[in-house]
């Protein structure tokens, strides 16, 4: 059935896929294939020409293309093969075998058998339709990422008077970018009472340019017959507009930065279990999904703020995929990680202590901003561990590490919570 066999097939050549490839080769996988749909590897980093990438991994500040370039070079120095302009249509993991079918202009339709598959498809942006903004449907309503592509890759401006809906990082970055290109960014409007992007981006992209941020506000209407002419902004309370508090902004462009959705259509079609909290796969401590031999990492698993964390997670996945392809199997008991009070989700959601060397990292997001707070890990009534934090926010991913010795104390499950007894920001 297959045209060729690879130990590890990696679906996607963005930061996750590249890191997984490097790690898979380091772990000794002989035949590794990275499949990228675009003409070049690097994924969305290629259009992120601002800096701030790599502070954790490279200990220096790089632009997106520089970060991608370093990893592309690292992959080129391994034995991994990279195919670009190739779209994966289907991943099947029936029985003990895994197949990846894809098409490209060069090679046509191909099916590869894989010892292990690593899913690195990234995420897409939530659209106007997904959040149902009423009004007309004129030109000039774009997701921030699409606008970023037009501006940074194609060299075109997409507006002169801009309103940004949502305070996600791409929206904040685009507020600065559009300003630098001569557009007037009139407002950034955020439904939550807090900002959803990194604090550093609020300072560097809004405050530095005097762009007002309206918290607890949203756009309740977009109007214009051919091109956007104005938006109606409403103050929100308890999920509803406050009557009489709406105002209009005349603008020609609305950029949306209202959330990212992991792109798991291939995952779903392959019948792999999805975590409804993340919209990504349910994974073990080594990033293997509940389908044997299929791994997931990066933004297809859960949306990250920093590419450095994507890299770390994907290296774990790539290494584990290489070991799986070589025949390593993990047994023993399973500890379920439960999201308790104040925790939106955790990755991983299942841990096999047998497969943990020294300790296991658990990533999560809290549900709203907090000042001094305590993260507790409990199994049943027993507290296993506690971690103090001075500040936490939904826009900044948290990480805790549970030492292996403490895992032994967990029977069946552990619950991660953020203690609400402390004073909150809002």
């Amino acid at each position: 059935m297959a045209d060729k066999y690879y130990d590890v097939v990696i679906v996607g050549g963005g930061p996750a896929g590249l890191a997984a490839a490097v790690a898979a080769c380091e772990k000794g996988a002989e035949k590794v294939l990275v499949i990228e749909r675009d003409k070049v590897v690097g994924g969305i980093l290629n259009q992120c020409i601002h800096n701030g990438f790599g502070l954790h991994y490279f200990k220096e500040e790089l632009t997106g293309p520089e970060y991608a370039g370093r990893f592309a070079k690292m992959v080129a120095e391994t034995r991994a093969e990279v195919v670009t302009g190739t779209m994966v249509l289907d991943v099947t993991a029936a029985g003990m075998k895994r197949y990846v079918s894809c098409i490209s202009s060069e090679n046509g339709y191909c099916v590869y058998e894989a010892g292990a598959v690593v899913l690195c498809m990234g995420c897409r942006e939530r659209t106007r339709g997904a959040i149902s903004i009423p009004g007309d449907r004129p030109a000039g309503v774009l997701t921030a990422g699409t606008a970023q592509r037009y501006v940074n890759m194609e060299g075109y401006m997409v507006g002169k008077r801009v309103v940004i809906l949502g305070s996600g990082d791409i929206g904040l970055i685009m507020a600065r970018r559009m300003t630098l290109e001569g557009a007037k960014v009139l407002a950034c409007i955020e439904l939550s009472p807090w900002c959803n992007g990194l604090n550093r981006n609020v300072v560097q992209c809004l405050n530095d340019y005097g762009i007002p941020l309206y918290l607890s506000h949203t756009i309740t209407g977009i109007y214009g017959s051919d091109r956007v002419e104005k938006v109606v902004v409403s103050k929100m309370d308890g999920g509803k507009p406050v009557p009489g508090m709406e105002f209009e902004i005349e603008c020609d462009t609305v950029l949306l930065s209202v959330g990212l959705i992991p792109e798991n259509e291939l995952t779903r079609n392959a019948g792999i279990q999805i975590n409804p909290r993340t919209n990504g796969a349910v994974v073990f401590e080594n990033m293997m999904t509940m389908t044997d031999g299929v791994f997931a990492c990066g933004n297809v698993l859960h949306v990250h703020d920093l590419v450095d964390f994507v890299t770390a997670e994907s290296m774990k996945a790539g290494a584990a995929a290489a070991e799986y392809a070589k025949g390593k199997r993990v047994g023993g008991n399973i500890v379920d990680v439960v999201s308790g009070d104040g925790v939106n989700y955790t990755v991983p959601s299942k841990i096999r202590p047998e497969n943990v060397e020294k300790g296991v990292d658990i990533f999560f997001r809290t549900n709203h901003p907090r000042k001094k707070s305590v993260i507790t890990v409990k199994s049943g009534d027993n507290q296993i561990a506690a971690f103090k934090r001075d500040y936490m926010a939904p826009g900044e991913m948290e990480k805790i590490t549970i030492p292996k010795v403490l895992l032994a104390k967990c029977s069946g499950s552990m619950t991660v919570s953020v203690d609400d007894a402390v004073e909150e920001v809002f």
Binding site: G108, V111, E125, S132, P138, Y156, M157, V158
Partner: protein, 476 residues
């Protein structure tokens, strides 16, 4: 001098042009927008109704039945996306069951294959239905269709057979002469011996241009949700509620030919035929109505909302006639539901009336009842995909990842008999940008391909209508 000028290239104008293409005639079509099928044809329920709704004996009843019968053949011949599907009118109480029985009788009178189903039978044929449904009217004669492809396909046949399609040609006025009419359009003057008024929501205005002021537009807008294919898989029928006291059929839940789910419409007076704004209160009611039919709909998976305007008038039936004030004009007006279902029959009636008005209808022996084939990459087998890419590598490049649309299909769409000039025009031809990311990833690529293939600068490529510009200039 043209023999016939058709005003409007929605599905009614398209069907008329298609029917006229069989004859030795010089035909022109004047369309207001920069593409065909941009009005009501673009935004409706996309359903070919079985025909149990209209009052027996009305034009609506007769032409609905004729229209869907002929459409079954035409969609095959012209390769239009179409799928027969069962329809249900569901009842929650005794009053509703009374409506169901009424519709059943109408269905029988109109010659429709209908059944009244018990609660168990209804749930057996459509497990997604709410448990509160106590019975239903059922028919297997309905279908879902791609309405803009239907109109485009028929117009393509007309164009291949010599019709002159003028886009961006809004008709401003019509001058009456002894042996012809002159339409003054935004795209030049057009002289024609006869004019067919198929202007949809604007048909009453076109009629007024020749002094016929009986028809008043009472246009009714309807809003809809489109949901992801994940939701489309939940439903296997077109589900209607019972008509209300005013005969309004209400919200329906239906899969689309592309596998999505639509929920809508409501009915509200439209300020203007192009007032297509969606409103939060209406959307809220539509959501609630959809959930009442199918409780498992997950609105977190919605991908788009839209509104369409039905060309309703003060007259309840279709208006199909030689214009009483101008014997050189044929009115095909008031084409609200079941206008799409009836289109082919309405076109046929239009031709008949042209004959009665004095137009000589001589069959064209060289008539070609076909259009260039449409390749839908996603629907091909792996072997066919392989062979196609080997022949043309552009079919190996996926541009729209959500809908699996290749560069080859986009290029082909741009070289068809009717050339789409906008990003949305390409979307309507080959689905690029119609999926869950709504063109987030592919619209800059599609934009670039349009510019390249048509040789127009990227700055000049609109999103949809003329004036819906995307780019405001170069970066610094």
């Amino acid at each position: 001098m043209y023999d016939v000028l058709i005003v409007g290239c929605g599905v009614i104008g398209a069907a008329t042009a298609y029917k006229l293409a069989k004859y030795n005639l010089k035909v022109a079509i004047a369309e207001k927008f920069n593409d065909v099928a941009c009005g009501t044809t673009k935004a409706n329920s996309a359903i070919m109704h079985a025909g149990y709704d209209p009052e027996p004996g009305t034009k609506k009843a007769i032409l609905n039945r004729r229209g869907i019968a002929e459409a079954r053949e035409v969609v095959k011949k012209l390769d239009v996306e179409y799928q027969p599907i069962q329809s249900l009118v569901i009842a929650y109480n005794d009053r509703d069951m009374e409506e169901v029985r009424k519709l059943y009788c109408r269905g029988l009178a109109n010659g429709v294959h209908v059944k009244i189903m018990s609660q168990d039978e209804a749930h057996a044929v459509e497990p997604a239905l709410s448990p509160n449904v106590i019975g239903a009217l059922w028919s297997d004669e309905s279908a879902i269709i791609n309405p803009w492809e239907f109109a485009t396909a028929m117009t393509e046949v007309a164009v291949i057979n010599g019709a002159d399609l003028r886009l961006n040609a809004e008709v401003y006025s019509i001058e009456q002469h002894e042996d012809h009419l002159t339409a003054v359009t935004a795209n030049g003057k057009v002289d024609a011996r006869y004019v067919v008024n198929a202007a949809g929501c604007y048909a009453p205005f076109i009629a007024k241009m020749v002094g016929d002021d009986r028809i008043e537009a009472t246009n009714r807008a309807g809003q809809y949700y489109v949901l992801d294919k994940v939701e489309g898989r939940k439903v296997h029928s077109v589900i209607f509620g019972c008509p209300d006291e005013n005969g309004f059929k209400g919200v329906l839940v239906s899969p689309t030919v592309h596998g999505n789910l639509i929920v809508g419409p409501d009915a509200e007076i439209a300020a203007h035929p192009e007032d297509l704004a969606t409103k939060p209160d209406n959307l809220g009611k539509i959501r609630a109505a959809g959930l009442k039919y199918v409780p498992s709909i997950n609105y977190r998976n919605m991908i788009r909302e839209y509104a369409g305007v039905r060309p309703t008038t003060n007259l309840s039936d279709f208006i199909i006639e030689i214009c009483p004030t101008c014997s050189r004009m044929i009115n095909l007006a008031g084409m609200a539901s079941p206008g799409l279902s009836s289109a082919l029959a309405v076109g046929e009636e239009g031709v008949k009336l042209l004959g009665e008005a004095g137009l000589e209808l001589v069959e064209n022996p060289d008539f070609r009842d076909e259009r260039p084939p449409v390749i839908r990459f996603k629907e091909l087998s792996p072997e066919e995909q392989k062979a196609l890419i080997a022949k043309n590598p552009a079919y190996g490049q996926i541009v729209c990842r959500c809908e699996t649309v290749t560069e080859g299909e986009i290029v082909a769409a741009l070289h068809r008999p009717i050339v789409p000039v906008s990003v949305d025009g390409v979307k309507r031809r080959c689905r690029a940008g119609m999926g869950r990311c709504q063109g987030g990833f592919c619209s800059p690529r599609v934009h670039e391909i349009i510019s390249r293939e048509l040789g127009i600068p990227e700055e000049k490529v609109p999103k949809d209508k003329q004036g819906s510009y995307i780019i405001t200039g170069r970066t610094k």
